[in-house]
């Protein structure tokens, strides 16, 4: 008999699942906030509502899924296992969720206690996560661009968190710091250094594996993470020595690298061998295309900083890159990862005697496709709201709430079906050997 897949040391499914199910709820919350605040929220990137929504999405949704996925995926893509994955999940999930809520509430209310408290909770949670994940990962030699990418991305997460905590404490305690320059740097580290590099490191594995595309060429894959980190470090130096021109150069270089990565991924996807496009493919096509548009907005600011002062420019950039890029990448991945993990765990639990159901029985393609269309509508309305906030902000908020609620519904449905099959397998195994 063939040996079972070596997932005996894989973390239990419930470890990452709590993150995956919580993330869309933060999307719902962000949508509700847009719905309640309306057009005022879109007045600038600095409005309390815009800051709250940004962090509900970037921490509550994006970071949530990214950390949950890392707990699951480190043994698979890097051969590095966390010593106690369930304990890590139990500690990180509430810290991240409560910290994100406190921070968002702090931005909305202006309460120093909530802002400072949120920063402390998030800081402690991330110090803990970074310590345990780097302890597992650092001894592993960087034999692939993915391993190197994850290591560098985790360093960038540490940098992002430090910058964020300094700013939150500065706001809470009234310290005098160059907030605008630090906020740009924080966003650069968070979106470029952490999210962008982690996305690339994961894409090197999951795009060819799930979409049956050619592989990413070795040399650019190897250098992209280091290039992004170097650009972020140089940007930090530019802020430190107050040399804006150097900062602009870093912004231009990182935007160009991002466009090159997205362009390359689109090219690989066009060469895929999977005939029928699925929800993951469509989400990635959307994300790659809109990220490229978003990065061109950023590139323009690099060459012509006054563009950032144009009405709606920075908001459009943020919506294109975060709601148009990262959320679709993550939703697309969730639609592969959740059915795949369900199938994998059921397959292993069935001990080769009770077969696992096919992945499309766990989460149907039609359900994912309809939710994708709903998200597309929400995205179009959000982009419109950056230009005509008084008309479109509330419809955009409502649509974003519904699309995220639907994502939750689909993932929760998959979980429910997983549990039903699990109970069935346990029953059949208890009943004795299955007939072939």
């Amino acid at each position: 008999m063939l040996p079972m897949l070596a997932f005996d040391n894989a973390p239990p499914f419930k470890a990452p699942l709590r993150f995956f199910l919580t993330a869309p709820l933060f999307g719902v919350l962000a949508g509700v906030l847009v719905l309640v605040e309306g057009g005022d929220l879109f007045a600038s990137r600095w409005t309390p509502g815009a800051l709250a929504v940004t962090h509900l999405i970037t921490i509550g949704f994006m970071l949530q899924v990214m950390l949950g996925a890392l707990i699951q995926i480190l043994p698979v893509v890097a051969g590095a296992s966390l010593a106690h994955p369930m304990r890590v999940a139990r500690n990180v999930h509430p810290g991240l969720s409560i910290g994100a809520l406190m921070l968002a509430a702090g931005f909305l209310s202006g309460s120093p206690a909530l802002l400072g408290g949120g920063a402390v909770v998030l800081g402690l949670t991330l110090v803990y996560f970074l310590t345990v994940s780097l302890a597992a990962l650092w001894p592993v030699p960087a034999t692939s661009p993915t391993i190197r990418g994850i290591k560098l991305a985790l360093l960038a997460l540490a940098g992002t968190a430090m910058l964020g905590i300094v700013m939150a404490l500065a706001l809470a305690l009234g310290w005098s710091v160059p907030l605008v320059a630090l906020a740009d740097l924080h966003a650069g580290w968070g979106l470029g250094g952490w999210s962008g590099v982690l996305l690339a490191a994961m894409a090197y594995v999951v795009v060819p594996m799930f979409q049956l595309t050619p592989g990413y060429p070795a040399r650019p894959s190897w250098w992209f993470p280091a290039f992004m980190l170097a650009a972020m470090l140089m940007w930090g130096l530019a802020v430190l020595i107050d040399w804006p021109l150097l900062g602009r150069l870093c912004l231009i270089l990182s935007a160009l690298a991002g466009i090159a990565f997205a362009g390359l991924t689109l090219r690989l996807q066009f060469k895929r061998r999977r005939a029928r496009p699925d929800a993951t493919y469509r989400y990635w096509q959307l994300g790659l295309t809109l990220s490229i548009f978003g990065l061109f907005f950023l590139l323009t600011v690099g060459f012509w900083p006054a563009a950032a002062e144009l009405a709606g420019w920075t908001l459009l950039f943020g919506i294109l890159l975060v709601a148009g890029g990262f959320i679709p990448f993550i939703a697309g991945m969730l639609y592969k990862i959740v059915p795949f993990l369900s199938w994998m765990h059921l397959q292993n639990l069935g001990q080769a005697r009770v077969p696992a159901p096919a992945m499309n029985k766990i989460l149907a393609e039609a359900a994912m496709h309809r939710q994708f269309l709903a998200y597309g509508v929400a995205l179009a309305l959000l982009l419109g709201a950056a230009i005509w906030p008084e008309w479109l902000a509330r419809p955009a908020g409502l649509a974003f709430t519904l699309a995220n609620g639907w994502l939750f519904w689909n993932l929760a449905g998959a979980t429910r079906r997983y549990r039903q099959h699990l109970a069935d397998i346990e029953l059949r195994l208890a009943a004795g050997p299955a007939t072939p």
Binding site: L5, A6, A78, F210, G215
Partner: protein, 75 residues
């Protein structure tokens, strides 16, 4: 399919999981002790590495410029 490194090759670059794992284990079963096979993939198969180590098989991995990982496994 043959390859300069060995004539026993599993080209799993366009296979969906868990096919690469299954095809590799099936080919390993057909080899004599000391014989070698090559697995081609666009990723490093860490779960497979673990099974290979558990079963006492040696392996060497080389990343090619096109992104292919060539994994040479000795039974």
């Amino acid at each position: 399919m043959s390859h300069p490194k060995t004539q026993h090759v599993v080209d799993a670059r366009y296979m969906e999981p868990p096919e690469p794992f299954v095809a590799t284990m099936e080919m390993l079963d057909t080899l004599a002790v000391g014989e070698r096979m090559l697995l081609l993939l666009f990723r490093e198969p860490h779960p497979l590495y673990k099974v290979l180590r558990q079963n006492g098989h040696a392996y060497e991995t080389e990343l090619q410029p096109d992104g292919t990982f060539e994994i040479l496994i000795t039974r």
